[in-house]
Amino acid sequence: MLKVGSYQFSSRLFLGTGKYPDFDIQKQAVEKSGTEVLTFAVRRMNIYDPTLPNFLEKIDGNKYAFLPNTAGAKDAKEAVRIAKLAAASGRCDMIKVEVIGCNKTLLPDPIETLKATKELVAEGFTVLPYTSDDIVLARKLEEAGAHAIMPGASPIGSGQGIINPLHLSFIIEQANVPVIVDAGVGSPADAAYAMELGADGVLLNTAVSSAKKPVQMAEAMKYAVQAGRLGYKAGRIDKKRYATASSPEEGISIGS
């Protein structure tokens, strides 16, 4: 079981809800992924065309925990406002703090992220900050009361996978709260690798929503996260420079 604040999840895969080809594919992908946590963004409603469909109307919202993000916030103040707006829905007290500090790389602003985390913890939210793979910042976020740490594997939506497994493993080793690898996952191998490093979960969006077949990819990610977790618990072998035979040396001269 993955425990984040007072929440408990049996699936360790968190799924984003952006950029799917259509709602039907998205709905199937969400189901196939086995996820229990869906992320959302908070945006102005188009009041001139209220007939525009919303994904929330297509799913049984009660089956999922909502993890709204503060995407769009440029500082802590805006992040806190978005979090409070999300909470006023009455649907959730979890919040993914996302304060972008660089438009090109979409890397987070560490100072504003920490500030927002502190404020939202004080307000009683269950706070999951999206952060870079900085070890000191991860520790400070935890000290600020974050209920989970969500380091990026590589830039959001880049699909570059885990570019700094060493830093991620340092963060995982140090953390006393769950570490959920968020952003940059491109393939099932990346998701499995994150879990093998000891991550408690993976949050991804584009890797599924922009896959050639999102529904199949959602299922692949489900198994990848499970496989990685099992592999982590099983404990991988040490790497050796030379080969060691798997078949016994004894009785090798059959028929000669």
Binding site: K19, Q26, T39, V42, M45
Partner: protein, 69 residues
């Protein structure tokens, strides 16, 4: 007499029959949608929609959840 308010950044003239936030949501056809309203920078809980009184020049933000990662 029409009352001018600002909804999601745009000026909107509404009839004076629209007295409360709830009336505005009905008028816009969004009352049944999952949404959140901010009235002059004050975030409203759903129960407050019927009591929150609109006056000239009020700023209303109507937001909702959209797809995001």
């Amino acid at each position: 007499m029409a009352m001018k308010i600002i909804v999601n950044g745009d000026g909107l003239a509404v009839s004076e029959d629209i007295k409360h936030i709830k009336d505005l949501l009905d008028y816009l056809g969004v009352a049944d949608k999952p949404l959140i309203v901010e009235h002059n920078q004050q975030i409203l809980q759903k129960e407050a929609h019927e009591q929150s009184v609109l006056t000239e020049g009020d700023k209303i933000e109507i937001v909702h959840f959209v797809g995001g990662g």
